[in-house]
């Protein structure tokens, strides 16, 4: 079928109600061993990239075991050396010198985080959730300025990654980075600054339409009085507005604790987070029934995230074939995914950070307080060709900014050897494609991939010991990496 001979569907406006999806939250084959396709789907969605070892391990597990194993990982890694120094105790010869050192530290922090994602992101949902929270409770390093505070915030996300959602919101009230980023650190009784209150309601907990402008004004009054002391946010009663506030239908001399408590009494608070979780792990268009059930689960578990997430990831709905390949990789899943898929840990970290920034995701620097909206916004005429070029050079073990080699290239031979079908070209190509792509290639694409592996040699001659096999393997990888399917999760 010719590329243009069929009518394009409304690719940008899928139906708002999922038609024909009947799967719910009942467990999917909970005590059966995972099939390769199901294992890949689970790991693609729940981690930042699937390696051959991850897949092999998952196939020895039941769905239940695999999902539970995801809630692992080092939640207290060693911080960068400067991260625990109180910024108010540091002296620099000049403001410029301080700024230069802070920029240096920020680069180091970005790379520190990227290294964690690449080397410790296997078979773990931890770093995926850390980024989820970074994209939810947004702050950026340019405004926050003090690197220690951005580290602290990142560490809070790590420690509370799948913990209590309400407690995390309360922690953000006192979070130094957040206090600076949304100006609550300057908010004072008599002249409250509304920025944090507004975003707390609009972006962090309830969403547009579930509060009034008056609620923002009153919440801002209640949230006055927070300042930063050393490495913590502290509450200064003298600076707080002690008057009576009307907030979400309640009336009282509310403070921050009260505001958080009242917000999370609303069912909408559970629904709001459940919607985001759904859109992160299942599909960009939320299914209202499933979201409602997830929200109720969250509330029933006193806002502990893990039970709700486990239920979702073990569910028939999550494994429904309709959703395979229905998410678009963020620049993180793209770059880290490349590394993990080829079991490659030698990516120059400055290069990784900079390329992701070029793909419009600079770690620690969300574009606005709304965060990265993602999905279709990741893929446009600017970023799509760049993804193709980055991946092509990656397959060759090179950077695509200055074309220098990586310290060592990805070991494509070892990658190929891990496929039991590697002696039969046609099967090998199919298996590699199915490992790397969330939507299996059709007959035309498979024929093209086979050509790219053989590079003119006859099919029967194929083996891993043939001459120039690495060239051929890289050629196959490049061809797979530049299929549109490669951008899907």
């Amino acid at each position: 079928m010719n590329r243009r001979d069929f009518l394009w569907r409304l690719v940008s406006n899928p139906p708002t109600t999922p038609l024909g999806i009947t799967t719910g939250l009942d467990p999917y084959k909970p005590d059966q061993l995972l099939s390769p396709d199901d294992a890949l789907h689970l790991l693609r969605r729940a981690t930042l990239g699937v390696s051959r070892q991850d897949l092999a391990r998952a196939q020895q597990m039941t769905t239940r075991q695999a999902v539970q194993a995801l809630f692992s990982g080092n939640q207290t890694p060693s911080p960068p050396p400067w991260a625990t120094i109180d910024p108010t105790t540091e002296n620099f010869p000049s403001p410029d010198a301080r700024q230069q050192e802070y920029y240096r530290r920020y680069a180091e922090l970005q790379q520190w985080w990227l290294r964690r994602m690449i080397t410790e992101g296997g078979f773990s949902i931890l770093e995926k959730l850390v980024f989820f929270w970074h994209n939810h409770y947004c702050s950026d390093y340019l405004k926050v300025y003090y690197p220690q505070y951005m580290y602290l915030q990142n560490q809070t996300f790590r420690q509370m990654a799948w913990g209590n959602v309400r407690e995390l919101a309360r922690a953000m009230v006192a979070d130094p980075a957040m206090l600076i980023y949304l100006d609550n650190v300057a908010s004072i009784k008599g002249n409250p600054n509304e920025n944090f209150a507004r975003e707390l309601l609009e972006l962090f907990t309830l969403g547009v339409g579930h509060y009034t402008e008056h609620d923002i004004v009153e919440a801002a009054r209640a949230l006055t009085g927070w300042r930063i002391q050393g490495m913590r946010g502290v509450f200064n009663q003298q600076l707080w507005d002690p008057g009576v506030k009307d907030f979400l239908g309640r009336r009282g001399t509310f403070n921050a604790d009260d505001i958080i408590a009242i917000i999370f009494e609303q069912d909408q608070a559970a629904r709001f987070i459940a919607t985001k979780i759904y859109r992160t792990f299942v599909y960009d268009v939320p299914n209202p029934d499933i979201v409602e059930q997830l929200a109720q689960l969250l509330k029933a578990n006193n806002y502990e995230l893990r039970p709700m997430l486990e239920t979702l990831l073990m569910s028939e709905h999550f494994f429904d074939p309709a959703f395979r390949g229905a998410l678009i990789k963020s620049p993180i899943e793209f770059m880290v995914g490349l590394c993990r898929q080829l079991s490659f840990a030698e990516l120059p970290l400055d290069y990784g950070i900079e390329r992701m920034a070029r793909l419009t995701l600079e770690l620690l620097n969300p574009p606005t307080v709304e965060g990265w909206k993602g999905h279709h916004l990741w893929i446009n005429t600017n970023t799509y060709p760049l993804r193709e070029r980055i991946a092509e050079y990656f397959a060759d073990g090179k950077r695509n900014d200055n074309y220098q080699n990586f310290p060592t290239p990805p070991d494509v031979r070892q990658f190929a050897a891990s496929f039991s079908s590697n002696a039969v070209a046609r099967e090998f190509v199919s298996d590699v494609a199915r490992f790397l792509l969330a939507i299996p290639p059709g007959p035309n694409a498979e024929a093209y991939l086979l050509d790219e592996l053989l590079l003119g040699a006859p099919e029967y001659e194929w083996s891993l010991s043939m001459p120039n096999v690495e060239l051929r393997l890289r050629s196959l990888l490049k061809a797979i990496f530049t299929l549109p399917e490669y951008q899907l999760l």
Binding site: S12, P14, I379, A438
Partner: protein, 524 residues
């Protein structure tokens, strides 16, 4: 590697001339002779008209942009932020420019910039997210659409999109993400890139050469098709953009490298001059920088720097357009998701507000005018924010009706209902009839706004036969007064307006082969 096939593209391109047969109403035209439909088609089949959108992200503080210098309430509300009267650049007896806006001041005085005051919409939203979406989707504040006004308009211009992709992109955004404004009901009608050279270098010009297998009938399949569309667009359009950029490798002014908006407009100027048939360009001052909650700055600081960047960039751009010979084809507007509050907050900044001025610019605007009143600091909304005078869609309506010559039913499809287009842009004229700058300068309409009658004043450099006509915003001629042969020098015409309903009209004076036009406001 096989070459990618480029299947038959739309060879007709998408010229506005193809819209000719669907025109409904008569347009206002600065013509003397009776216009035929064919002549009209020739004029507005002027498919090389371009509209430039400049987005100021974060919510621009209008009150410190155009300062109400005689209003004591302004100075009371802003003890640290108010701009002192003697620091402003003169604009009117009651308004002053922020001193950083020398670029805008010069353009305004030159007739290449106009101001629309107090622009917002009913029940305005004060969230960046919603506010920006509303401006881009051109909806009421309680309506949610996932298509943008430009996207919807371009779909009427390219009715068989996306089955056939136009030869060249219909809309271009200089940047890295694609605006909701360019999203249509049937797909994305715009492309984004940083600059033409790197765009071309990036795209694999050869591709796989295979035909796509059918996408599965799943949501994954839907997303696959989306990525495929982007892949195809990248290939098609990187070539078109490069061709245009290669035809025009230089600019006629020097854009400072430390002015990012200027650098974006520099590219836009080259592409237009290089012949790219793109109709809409979007550039922005991004990063939410106008969201000045803290330390906004009055004479120095964040906001003044942004205003300087804005004014300088637009001035340079329009001067460059003159130098490149494209000035008659290019107009544009600024927009921002909201203005800011009247009272400053406790952090030497301002919080999210409502109405604010916006600017239209270009050689072919009805230039050097201020539509609307000075901001009313007495009658505010329940939160103490400025009230609406004009709906932003009245500016969009003007762009579509006047600049692009769209028919009324297109306007309905794009904006969902009728809006009274503000008199902002010059409708295409015949080559015989140009607006005469001196005549325009001399043309006075007083009182304006008026209710019972108004007096047109003019100065003729030489004797001529004078006719005065009044038109409504849809172009219909309502009144013709044949004044007759007049001598050189000053003259006046009194026009009774008691039959006229409240609203906005055009007054057009024809003196021999010269003409001039001004907006006329009737208030009852």
């Amino acid at each position: 590697m096989k070459r990618r096939e480029f299947l038959h593209r739309s060879t007709a391109g998408i010229a506005l001339a193809t819209l000719g047969t669907s025109f409904g109403s008569v347009r206002l035209r600065a013509l003397a002779a009776s216009p035929t439909l064919r002549a009209w088609q020739r004029l507005t089949g002027n498919s090389d008209r371009v509209f430039v959108l400049i987005q100021l992200t974060g919510g621009n503080d209008g009150l410190n942009t155009i300062i109400p210098i005689e209003n004591g309430l302004y100075y009371q509300a802003r003890p640290t932020l108010a701009i002192p009267k003697n620091q402003t650049l003169p604009l009117t007896s009651t308004l002053g420019w922020h001193p950083s806006l020398t670029g805008f001041r010069d353009l305004y005085n030159d007739g290449r910039l106009s101001i629309v005051q107090n622009v917002t919409y009913p029940n305005p939203d004060r969230s960046h997210f919603r506010g920006t979406d509303i401006w881009l989707t051109a909806t009421d504040s309680d309506v949610f659409k996932s298509s943008g006004w430009v996207g919807r308009f371009l779909e009427t211009v390219a009715p068989d999109f996306p089955e056939r992709l136009p030869d060249e992109p219909l809309a271009v955004q200089i940047g890295t993400t694609l605006s909701l404004g360019f999203q249509g009901n049937r797909g994305t009608l715009g492309i984004t890139f940083r600059d033409p050279e790197s765009f071309y270098a990036l795209v694999d010009q050869q591709g796989t050469g295979t035909t796509y297998d059918p996408a599965p009938d799943t949501y994954g399949g839907t997303e696959l098709e989306f990525v495929r569309t982007v892949e195809l667009s990248s290939q098609l359009y990187s070539q078109a953009v490069k061709k245009a950029a290669d035809r025009q490798k230089t600019n006629t002014v020097t854009y400072p490298t430390n002015n990012p908006l200027a650098q974006s407009l520099k590219i836009v100027a080259r592409l237009i001059a290089g012949g790219l048939t793109t109709k809409f360009y979007l550039v922005s001052i991004g990063g939410n920088t106008f969201d000045t909650h803290i330390n906004q700055g009055s004479l120095t600081g964040i906001h003044p720097q942004l205003l300087q960047q804005l004014g300088d960039a637009v001035k340079l751009f329009l001067d460059d357009c003159r130098g490149l010979g494209i000035a008659d084809r290019v107009v544009g507007m600024t927009f921002s998701e909201f203005g800011r509050r009247v009272m400053e907050n406790g952090s030497r900044g301002t919080d999210h507000g409502t109405a604010a001025p916006l600017f239209v610019f270009g050689e072919q605007i009805i230039g050097g005018q201020i539509l609307g009143h000075d901001p009313d600091l007495v009658n505010l909304d329940s939160r103490g924010d400025l009230l609406m005078e004009f709906d932003y869609r009245q500016v969009y309506a003007a762009a579509l009706l006047q600049w692009f010559g769209a028919p009324m039913n297109t306007l309905q499809a794009v904006l969902f209902r009728e809006f009274a287009a503000l008199p902002l842009f010059q409708i295409a004229s015949t080559v015989e009839q140009w607006e005469d700058a001196a005549l325009v300068q001399s043309l006075t309409v007083a009182p304006n706004p008026c209710s019972v009658q108004t007096t047109i004043g003019y100065h003729l450099p030489s004797p001529a036969r004078v006719t005065v006509t009044i038109h409504d915003l849809r172009g219909r001629c309502l009144v013709t007064r044949d004044v007759g042969d007049c001598p050189a020098g000053n003259g006046t015409v009194v026009l009774p307006l008691d039959r006229f309903a409240s609203g906005t009209y055009f007054v057009r004076l024809q003196a021999g082969s010269r003409s001039a036009m001004k907006a006329l406001f009737v208030e009852r």
